[in-house]
Point group: C2
Chain length 462, copies 2
């Protein structure tokens, strides 16, 4: 369904302007009407459907991501955004190669895995080596230096579901740090249990990093089911030997970029409201929930504002490039826009399930803005959190300069079933929850972009 927004837009435009008084706390019912209209949004779905169908996977530094940037330019222009452009930068690019693994003995069978971003390569015909089992990352840390020489480390830590995604932080160390630790201890390679909450065969890709001076070793994530199978083999007590083939490589600098579009505001001095998601994706799925949905949600919400009359502040939507392998699009944006006044920065990068909480880092003096956010978001099931907004990979470099942040936290209970796997496709998106996201972002933008209060620099994070 494609919604006709023109009547709504005319209505909203006539009522959404705020009186320019400080400490205005009254919640404008027009914001509620705009929010509820967004519950019928079709723009977010169309963007996700278009990116996943017409482009598909969009790995960092890839030609597919370049195609996606062109696709995004056309889409944003057709939606009526202004100042649509690509802001380019250079990306030192890692490219996946062949990848396979088999248990050679004592229980020969194939295993499903995928190389981690920045993984080193095996020889072209692979490695055949015994594994050393570590139930968790702390067990790997405790292994004596040199004890892994000629071995493949196997770290099999599990991950539980969390609504706020906190387990990704606490339990993702096996992926983020495991390969570096194993390399320092002399391991020839490492395989980890995927950082995921499913029990399936799709491995979870993701980036890892090696310290300067540490030569990257082959590093891969087994699917959760394959890791569980390998662990059952280990527990039978006989030595387990793997054959591992991974042939990723670094291909040097490639041009990449961020796609930028704007809803121009009436008061340039009031600062930009920066929102967005990331355009790149891991290559195993089609990047629907990570992060076509974030791109779609934020664009759809900005479109609601675009159709509601000129906001006070310019709303800038960025489809960030190359988030997955290190937040390079976000860093490039912050560098390119250093010194420009931003009022708020916020990103959507946690899937497509409903927003359940919002948090800000606004000071007490901005209490009326937060109160109006609460009034705008509560009716669609979004509670005000007690914590402090911390943005995400793409807006962190901007927040670090003292810009205020607002987090619209999505329900993460099933996010890590699909995250970075082949299953990240549009098939796992619940359109009603996607629309609730658009409504939450629309309400947030309607409050923040039009707030008569000054939203000045925050205290800069250490």
């Amino acid at each position: 369904m494609v919604r006709n927004v023109s009547l709504l837009a005319a209505l909203a435009a006539s009522t959404i302007a705020f009186p320019a008084v400080a400490q205005q706390t009254r919640f404008d019912p027009a914001i509620g009407r705009l929010r509820d209209a967004a519950l019928k949004d079709q723009v977010a779905w169309d963007i996700v459907e278009g990116l996943t169908t017409e482009i598909g996977p969009r790995p960092d530094g890839s030609p597919q991501q370049a195609r996606a940037r062109e696709w995004g330019m056309a889409k944003l222009r057709s939606l009526g955004f202004q100042n649509v452009r690509i802001e380019t930068y250079q990306l030192d690019t890692w490219v996946r190669g062949l990848e396979s693994a088999e248990v050679v003995s004592p229980y020969p069978q194939p295993l499903r895995l995928t190389a981690l971003g920045n993984s080193g390569a095996t020889p072209p015909d692979g490695l055949t080596l015994p594994i050393v089992f570590f139930p968790g990352i702390d067990d790997l840390r405790a292994a004596p230096d040199g004890s892994l020489k000629g071995k493949i480390a196997f770290v099999s830590n599990t991950m539980q579901r969390t609504m706020d995604g906190s387990s990704y932080g606490s339990q993702g160390a096996a992926r983020r740090q495991g390969p570096n630790i194993a390399a320092r201890k002399g391991a020839s390679a490492i395989v980890i249990r995927s950082i995921g909450t499913d029990h399936g065969r799709g491995p979870h890709a993701g980036v890892t990093n090696f310290e300067p001076g540490v030569t990257p070793i082959p590093a891969a994530a087994l699917s959760v089911a394959d890791a569980a199978n390998l662990e059952r083999m280990v527990k039978r007590g006989k030595p387990v030997t793997l054959h591992l083939l991974l042939t990723p490589k670094r291909v040097g600098l490639r041009e990449s970029g961020n796609v930028v579009a704007e809803v121009p505001g009436s008061d340039p001095a009031a600062g930009v409201v920066l929102i967005g998601g990331h355009l790149d994706s891991w290559d195993l799925g089609t990047g629907a929930i990570d992060d076509a949905s974030g791109v779609g949600i934020t664009t759809a919400a900005a479109k609601m504002l675009l159709d509601s009359g000129k906001p006070r502040r310019t709303i800038r939507v960025v489809w960030f490039g190359d988030e997955e392998t290190g937040g390079f699009g976000g860093a490039a944006y912050a560098k390119a826009h250093a010194g420009e006044r931003h009022a708020i920065a916020a990103e959507s990068d946690f899937g497509a399930d409903r927003v359940w909480r919002f948090q800000t880092n606004l000071p007490d003096s901005a209490r009326p803005v937060v109160d109006r956010l609460t009034a705008a978001l509560t009716p669609i099931g979004v509670i005000r959190g007690l914590g402090v907004a911390n943005g995400g990979t793409d807006v962190e470099p901007v927040l670090a300069t003292g810009v205020a942040g607002i987090d619209l936290n999505q329900d993460g209970l099933r996010y890590f079933d699909y995250h970075h796997t082949p299953e990240d496709t549009i098939d796992v998106i619940d359109v009603e929850q996607l629309r609730q996201n658009v409504a939450a972002w629309t309400a947030m933008l309607a409050v923040v972009a039009n707030a008569p209060e000054e939203i000045g620099p925050m205290q800069i994070k250490k």
Copy 2:
């Protein structure tokens, strides 16, 4: 948990014997106790865990299936079965090769698929051809002869969930017959939407067959998510071109076999009770629900009877070979045992979810047996169905000779989410439902193997 059955066995052995009177209808409470003891079974799980961990995929005609036969011999002997043996036969074997597909234009991206059993091969560097879209098999049937020359047919029929699995019969034609129809109409290749009820990326393998005189064309199943994606591309209206690489081949005759084990009965003239599942599996998963579970369930139930004293009838457990590509193990069994008296034949080959119904093809004269089955099965949620048992691929050749059949129908609502996919692993098995299966089979065997009534030949099916 490993259950100690010796006390139970002693108890059951002393009480389970039936008085040798005709038309005995009273239900022996000892059968209920044995059935309920089976709700704590560990044997079925151990067999599934062992086969999937120590062997893994067991494709038809493969060395892995040969290893599984040896594993089965050792397992059945260790459980105390008698006359454990492998009955060999020769199998004309088809072997999977490389397989990949990409949309070349207008929306380049990779697609996930798998070759169907008996598929022909593309040239070694693949085929690049336009597709012709057919929403369903009837649309393919309606295509004019010759209209598919130089094209890849794409049949995208969907499949809904059914508790009794009936949709597999009605909607599986795209896989079973589609390739033959497409080949006859001149298509260069065919891809179908997987015959499955999931929305995931794991393609559903499965056999197809070409009529004599029809040269097999490359034939593959796209994952459901990939087929939906391809269908979205088609619906945009531009011609869609695929690159398809499939290199399966026929490797001629290989030795294969059935693993056979017995619980000898006290009355050889009363006929054998034949039960079992199939040992082979498709190669994408580890063959947990198709059909290590059927092997495990039937073996575990026979073990309950083994430990309960000598039954009247010999219970013969068969781990059939090579069901997937054409029921070759079942056919070989029927041929090898032609003329031997069988009282009953039944198989378990529909996953590991609970048994919800039983049906027989027994005549009205055997009403007391059916009544006792009803009494034995109702307490664990198994209703008496109104239809007629029709066995399954492995016991059909025996039933076709006039042997009575009993079907213990399993809940199929989620079976086709995993069937023939990479996701067919032990991770999808609910151990409590697996145990309910063992209890149902134990109750059935306790009634049937000890029935004092004659269970003679049925009317032979046409």
